[in-house]
Symmetry: C2
Subunit: 159 residues, 2 copies
Amino acid sequence: MINTSAKERHRILYLEDHITGSAYEFGPIVMDEKAMIDFASQYDPQVFHTDPEAARKTSFEGLVASGWHSVVLATRLLVDHYFLRLANLGSPGVDELRWLKPVRPGDELSVRLTILEVRPSESKTDRGVIKGLVEVLNQAGEVVTTWKGINIVSRKDAV
Amino acid sequence: MINTSAKERHRILYLEDHITGSAYEFGPIVMDEKAMIDFASQYDPQVFHTDPEAARKTSFEGLVASGWHSVVLATRLLVDHYFLRLANLGSPGVDELRWLKPVRPGDELSVRLTILEVRPSESKTDRGVIKGLVEVLNQAGEVVTTWKGINIVSRKDAV
């Protein structure tokens, strides 16, 4: 599906282009300390996300990224390398989002996407559903965050 | 649990302070168009999130907020009104996150939190698990986004 030739890299990906079990990796992208604090100050201002000193006295024993920050940084990788090519009609949601390990300042995050399910819609013949496992890894190869994403995708033969 | 008296509003909330079935509402907070475009440009740069003109030609028929933006704005409300008072040891994740309706520029989002489950840990006597349903509502009272959050929370008698 995600081929390395220049031509293939720009081809639109339809439902039929997805194969269950295929896996792809994108990244890395750096979790910068200042960006961590800025993001958390705006959206998730708990001290273990915003204040390096105060964070030392919590169960995290130091600053950790907001779990949502890790999710949206990983989303940026997914969008740049996958969603911008996907014949994407939108996402109804995600399942089983898990924050497994803390993300620390300077961590380098990569994303591994594994296609779990490819299913044509029974009611709408022009589209189908793709379910994918997203695993976010740090520079040590540890899985820090996972979720199962759902997307509605156009069928090629309907375009 | 979340009482209206000034003294009660600042009391720390432990596991025992939660009652299954209790519900609380916080907000509203405005989804500003410029903030929508800025957030999506950084984390979710798909045209229906970043470009009002191009968004008209998509199935969304106009600009819609990144689903993750709705989640983090709602999180800000939850943190300000609930998590900053919670004896919170962290969150292992969330389940069944759903984007049910588009969020448009200028929408006013509120959060309704309903306590689904309060369970002391079997292995660690100083803590327990709280599961809560988060519903994000717009100014018309429509539920636009939902998820089930999980938090590890200290027990009062263990402190």
